[in-house]
Symmetry: C3
Subunit: 107 residues, 3 copies
């Protein structure tokens, strides 16, 4: 048994959870905060049998792939707000830790 | 040293914590969400000495045992709300992961 | 790779996180509750390379050292509120668990 702890953006979290649940994984969600940006993100905990581990990591990676997004860029000056060319930012991505489980009990 | 991570229902959480504290366990509580029902539950973290592990698991299991509960079942129709025979639902239960602790430091 | 889970007081949390980030550690913050006092504290998760572990533990310990604090002590009676000699209370401190990481993936 392994414990997967995956930190994903809030934007990707429900997609990741729905995909895992559809494939019969059991999932617990924690609302967390990134230390650098000090903004909210989501930590997903999944206890999986060893032979399901690769599948679980694949599903998380595919649904929260790092990608660039065009965001509108407004420049405001004393003459008013002008929209300039949109800016490309990096979003998504997953940071995944896999831990060994010494014992698993369903009481 | 082992780290016990137990996921219990919100209904059972304070009973479980009180029982552990009474028996001299140290406990940290996380408000979490179940991925399937998308409703709140509680994750309890307990760092225990190896010889206390079985006792800790026993206390958690006994206080959050799976059981059936009769819940009122109201059927509403255009004539008003009628109460029909109550419905049996499964509640409680604990999902427990035990992890090995490589180092434990009290600073 | 190791996963450091450090439980610190809310008062020390932002100092601890700022210090870790300044030294290039990556940090995730969880808002948690102490089981005994039933009051809020903070759990900090840091995934570190093995050779960075001692440095990480040192930074957490130094920024959240146990110390005594003088808090005003007001005694209220029917005649009004009198301030008596301040009381010394213990604050701060960190409870740190280090777990082995079986796999680390950045997707
Ligand atoms: N080894 C680790 N241990 C524990 N948690 C980890 C971790 N690696 C990543 N995380 C978590 O995942 C979030 C996204 O990390 P990512 O590396 O994609 O994206 C990061 C990274 O590109 C950058 N970053 C984070 N810490 C940094 C630092 N100390 N110096 C420079 N850049 C940093 O800022 C982005 C947002 O970071 P933020 O802290 O808000 O949010 C982080 C943090 O909550
Ligand atoms: N291996 C694991 N890894 C991480 N967290 C775990 C876990 N096993 C259980 N949990 C956590 O414990 C809660 C209760 O699980 P339980 O198995 O008693 O009761 C579960 C189970 O009977 C059922 N269930 C959960 N996921 C399912 C799925 N993918 N397909 C079918 N039934 C599912 O729905 C109940 C409520 O699930 P919910 O997700 O809301 O809440 C779950 C989840 O937060
Ligand atoms: N082995 C462990 N496993 C999981 N979490 C742990 C832990 N050891 C400490 N913690 C976490 O760290 C917080 C501070 O613990 P500390 O030992 O400094 O300070 C503790 C300790 O001096 C005392 N205490 C805690 N539990 C006790 C118990 N069962 N009996 C007597 N004193 C207790 O009360 C203070 C506040 O405790 P509180 O529970 O509110 O908050 C705790 C708890 O959230």
């Amino acid at each position: 048994m392994k414990l997967v702890m995956a930190i994903v953006s809030n934007e990707d979290a429900s997609k990741v959870i729905k995909t895992l649940i559809r494939d019969n994984f059991f999932v617990t969600k924690l609302a967390t905060t990134g230390g650098f940006l000090m903004s909210g993100n989501t930590t997903i905990i999944v206890g999986v049998q060893d032979e399901q581990l690769d599948k679980c990591i694949q599903l998380i990676s595919e649904t929260s792939r790092r990608r660039t997004k065009l965001v509108p860029n407004a420049i405001s000056s004393e003459f008013g707000i002008f929209s300039s060319t949109p800016v490309e930012v990096q979003v998504g991505g997953a940071t995944i830790f896999v831990l060994d489980v010494n014992q698993f009990i369903k009481a």
